[in-house]
């Protein structure tokens, strides 16, 4: 009898499995064919395979490709910075803080308000670096405050409830913040002031042409990442954070103030999101109350790609996602003859999420979760 049941259950499950295998094969096949077609169009443009789907394909010049890669990298660095917050909170509390994207948006919004004031007073023109430091500090403080408040008001009372309840709460928080910001500052898109010429101009590094702003984004992201790395790996606070992430009860028994450590985690994540918000503002020069939504979800995707709870992984995942999103439409979809590929950027990002979860749910670099969350 058990054998029959086993066989039956095995057969039933296998139907879903077969479908999953089909999806896996289909997606990988799509990517391989796309890349092959791209390569064919690149090197032997007259070959029938290259002309098969997209007879008008022009291919990419080296400069175009490098440009795509650079914008992908800088955007990915931002995703990485936001992803750190998701990753740390998930590592410690085991739930997705859906409202983290709103913390990022708050940073960008603060940056807009402050930079506009500086621009009115003329300081933006005369001493840009000072302004930059000031708006970064302001954005960090507002974002940190927001993240900490969020934890105190919405998440702390739910500390021991089932996993989905804080997630639903965070969706509500996210909705609330979005619409409160819209009510406070109006729904119009808000432009950052012009950047000084010396920053915005194109620079060439190792044959890579890169706009100064994107370079700034990469540098600031790298510095923040190093700072965070130092904090988590080499200070007492970081040690406490890792301990709480591993096991809250044992950490409490070891004399660690679990509540304070959790607040610190939210604060650090919020600070990183604040920095990312400023960088977003400088790079795209426009903020609305919806700015946090898509980058937030993509940053979560980045955290999953890198392995949730894994800080280095979050950054790497962000960069991988950013480059995939900027390169894949032109390298995989365009050669297959899909028109209007730039609209499909977000589709690519979500497909990457599905792919990662299908192939390696624990992420590329392995997740680091507490014992109870791993189950």
């Amino acid at each position: 009898l058990t054998a029959i049941i086993n066989r039956q259950s095995a057969r039933r499950v296998s139907r879903v499995d077969r479908f999953l295998t089909f999806i896996r094969v289909f997606l990988v096949g799509l990517i391989v064919i796309g890349v092959l077609a791209f390569l064919a169009q690149q090197f032997i443009p007259d070959n029938p395979f290259a002309r098969w789907r997209n007879p008008d394909a022009m291919g990419l010049t080296a400069d175009q490709f490098k440009g795509l890669l650079m914008s992908g990298l800088s955007q990915g660095a931002m995703y990485g910075l936001i992803a750190l917050g998701y990753s740390m909170v998930y590592g410690v509390l085991g739930f997705i803080n859906f409202a983290h994207g709103e913390v990022f948006m708050a940073g960008a919004m603060t940056g807009f308000i402050a930079s506009e004031k500086f621009n009115d007073s003329g300081l933006w023109e005369s001493n840009f670096l000072l302004c930059l430091v000031l708006i970064v500090i302001m954005a960090i403080s507002i974002s940190t405050l927001m993240a900490v408040l969020m934890e105190r008001v919405a998440y702390r009372p739910l500390r021991n409830s089932p996993r989905l309840i804080p997630l639903i709460t965070s969706i509500g928080v996210s909705f609330f913040i979005q619409n409160a910001v819209m009510g406070l500052f109006g729904p119009a898109s808000k432009p950052y002031p012009r950047l000084p010429e010396w920053l915005a101009k194109q620079r060439s590094i190792l044959t890579f042409e890169i706009a100064g702003t994107k370079l700034l984004v990469l540098v600031v992201a790298a510095v923040s990442m190093l700072g965070l790395w130092y904090l988590v790996e080499s200070t007492k606070t970081g040690k406490a954070m890792r301990a709480v992430a591993e096991d809250k009860e044992i950490a409490a028994l070891m004399g660690i103030n679990v509540n304070r450590t959790i607040v610190t985690t939210f604060a650090v994540g919020g600070a990183m999101a604040g920095v990312a918000g400023i960088l977003w503002g400088l790079l795209f020069r426009s903020v609305t109350h919806m700015t946090g939504f898509l980058p937030g979800i993509k940053a979560f995707t980045a955290a999953v790609i890198g392995g949730i709870g894994n800080l280095g992984g979050a950054m790497a995942g962000g960069i991988a996602l950013g480059s995939a999103e900027s390169v894949a439409p032109l390298v995989i979809l365009e050669p297959l003859g899909v028109p209007g590929v730039s609209q499909l950027k977000d589709v690519v990002a979500f497909t990457v999420l599905v792919l990662v979860l299908l192939f390696k749910p624990s992420g590329l670099f392995g997740e680091r979760l507490s014992a109870e969350d791993r189950a």
């Binding site: 049941i5 879903v16 409830s161 639903i168 409160a180 009510g183 500052f185 899909v338 979860l357």
Partner: protein, 616 residues
């Protein structure tokens, strides 16, 4: 838990002097109240909602949006945590005094705001910082008056809020009946005047409501008296009736249910005949969202799968209908009849449910939520893209979806009453299906999965199949709703299917009560009917720009205070309050020797479950 337990017990032992209050607590809540009032003012509610009158010339929705805050905080600050086994002091004058202090403190909020607006100009980032708000906050009578008035109002409201604990139960009942009754009648103004017109009673509503909306002062006084008397007369009867209904067994219960059901059905069929176009339109919207919410209730409420991309199925339903029936659809020229298209819609929805469900079904609950959200966005982006433009019309969507021709009647968007009847049919079907499914083998499997997936699997439930079924059934209901929407509006656009829709439906299901059909009904009538859907206005049309804010706040509030919803399903609330149930059982067990052994076992069982999680 332990902090709230010790705080009241320690204060109860101290000598109960009037000034011997927990000042830190009062300061905290009063300050918070002031901040909330400033936030609400700056978000623009007082000014934006000013046009809608509750009582003509006395109270507008704008002021109401501020006034409830000190009332609530006064209530909260003097509330005592009641715990079994811990002595709770009786409410006394001290509590009322605490409420008063909180109210006075919260008056600081409007005061600072008034002075701030008068002296500084922060109009640049804060769009509502300006003379309009100042005018509103000072009642148009100068700053001094405004500040003094707000202190007075807040103090009185804080006092009233805390008085609710002190008043005898009967008085409390009358007061709350009168307040809610007045609000209810004022909000339902459109419905009531439509109805009275239908029955030829215009003169009554003309006397009741002022020309520019809102109750007149006279009629509100009369209403207060009438509702007050009504509440005294019906004291204890409403509860008695419901408990009597619940106690009925077998045949009698069935008969009572049939009477109740036919009464509701009769109302649903007859009432729209007397209602005007606007209210019927509203009812049709409520029906559409009710259908969606019933589907999501199966996925989230019964099976416990948090599907944030639920709107995808709504979109599939709408687009399939549009492609099959519209003459303008780019690649499928024949115009099918709606009924025939509906069959294909349901099949397509089931297929989409399987295709989206299969890859995500084994993921962790929270990953699943984000991935389904991703799918929801993907589907919308694909419908919008240039790539699929030859099939779905891109950003312009598909227009010219024909109305539903039923032979004896034509259902079009121009005649919302017909849409309502069509939706009513589908809703009834959906309610019947959900109700039958709930008690079926599949429904019980879903609930078992919701409670504990691993245990359910160990009990021999094929969790993958059961969850997929939930996806498919939910998808079908959403798709039918989408199909009706397409026929009603006459066109489909990708932007009608934003993620926003999923989240609003989630709020409806959660506020109403997850896993409970009655809860979902209440949720969609209250939320969609009063506040409105993502694009559709509700009874309070002025809320259009604030409703999403309110939805967000409601979601957080419900999750923190009442996760089982307004109309909880008994089983779900037991799951959510497991600890409290066990604690109660334990406390009861202390009194009885026989139950003692059991009671000791129960907390042991809980820690055992937690302990098992650790090594795994």
């Amino acid at each position: 838990m332990s902090a709230t337990m010790s705080a009241p017990s320690s204060t109860s032992k101290a000598a109960p002097g009037l000034l011997d209050l927990d000042w830190r607590r009062i300061g905290k809540w009063g300050g918070l109240c002031a901040m909330v009032m400033v936030l609400v003012s700056l978000i623009g509610m007082p000014v934006g909602l000013e046009r809608r009158m509750i009582i003509e010339g006395r109270l507008s929705l704008g002021y109401l949006s501020l006034v409830w805050i000190p009332l609530l905080f006064g209530y909260v600050v003097s509330k005592r945590v009641v715990l079994e086994g811990v002595e709770t002091p009786d409410p006394s004058a001290r509590d009322v005094f605490a409420g008063l202090c909180t109210g006075v403190l919260s008056g600081l909020g409007p005061m600072l705001l008034v002075l701030g607006i008068d002296n500084f100009n922060l109009r640049d980032p804060l769009v509502n910082w300006g003379p309009q708000l100042l005018e509103q906050l000072t009642f148009g009578r100068g700053i001094g008056f405004g500040v003094a008035a707000w202190f007075g109002i807040c103090a009185v409201l804080g006092l009233l809020g805390s008085l609710m604990h002190v008043l005898p139960k009967d008085v409390r009942r009358v007061v709350s009946f009168v307040t809610y009754g007045l609000l209810f009648i004022s909000i339902l103004e459109a419905v009531i005047s439509d109805l009275s017109e239908g029955f030829g009673l215009e003169s009554l509503t003309d006397a009741m409501y002022a020309k520019r909306g809102g109750l007149t002062v006279k009629s509100s006084i009369i209403l207060v008296v009438v509702i007050g008397v009504f509440s005294i007369l019906t004291k204890g009867r409403l509860k008695g009736a419901t408990s009597r209904y619940k106690e009925l067994q077998g045949e009698e219960r069935k008969r009572a249910s049939i009477v109740l059901f036919s009464g509701v059905a009769g109302l649903c069929i007859v009432l729209p005949l007397f209602l005007g176009k606007i209210v019927n339109e509203l009812l049709a919207n409520v029906g559409l969202f009710l259908l969606l919410a019933l589907g999501l209730n199966i996925v989230v409420g019964l099976a416990g799968i948090l599907d944030l991309g639920y709107v995808a199925f709504f979109a599939v339903g709408g687009y399939t209908t549009a492609v099959l029936t519209s003459a303008e659809s780019p690649f499928f020229t024949p115009e099918l009849h709606f009924g025939f298209a509906l069959i294909i819609v349901i099949l397509m929805a089931g297929l989409t449910g399987l295709v989206i469900g299969a890859p995500v079904i084994r993921m962790r609950g929270d990953y699943l939520a984000i991935v389904t959200l991703g799918f929801g966005e993907i589907i919308r982006l694909l419908f919008m893209s240039d790539w699929l433009k030859p099939y779905f019309g891109g950003a312009q969507g598909i227009t010219n979806v024909p109305p539903v021709d039923l032979g004896f009647a034509v259902v079009t968007g121009i005649d919302p009453r017909s849409v309502f009847y069509l939706v009513l049919v589908f809703c009834t079907l959906a309610i019947y299906v959900s109700w039958r499914l709930q008690a079926s083998r599949l429904g019980r499997a879903w609930m078992a999965i919701r409670e504990d997936e691993q245990v359910a699997e160990a009990m021999g439930i094929n969790t993958v199949n059961a969850k997929l079924m939930a996806f498919v059934v939910g998808a079908m209901m959403a798709a039918v709703s989408g199909a009706v929407l397409a026929a009603k509006v006459g066109s489909v656009f990708p932007n009608s299917f934003m993620i926003l829709v999923s989240i609003i439906i989630l709020v409806v299901v959660i506020v109403g009560g997850m896993g409970n059909i009655a809860g979902v009904l209440v949720g969609s009538f209250v939320l969609i009917g009063v506040l409105g859907g993502p694009r559709q206005p509700g009874l309070l049309q002025e809320f259009q720009s604030y409703k999403l804010l309110i939805y967000g706040a409601l979601l957080v509030f419900m999750m923190l205070q009442r996760p089982e919803g307004l109309v909880p399903s008994a089983r779900r609330s037991q799951e959510l309050h497991q600890e409290e149930f066990l604690q109660d059982a334990w406390l009861k067990g202390e009194d009885h020797d026989r139950e003692e052994t059991e009671a000791v076992k129960q907390p042991g069982a809980v820690s055992g479950v937690e302990g098992e999680g650790d090594p795994a």
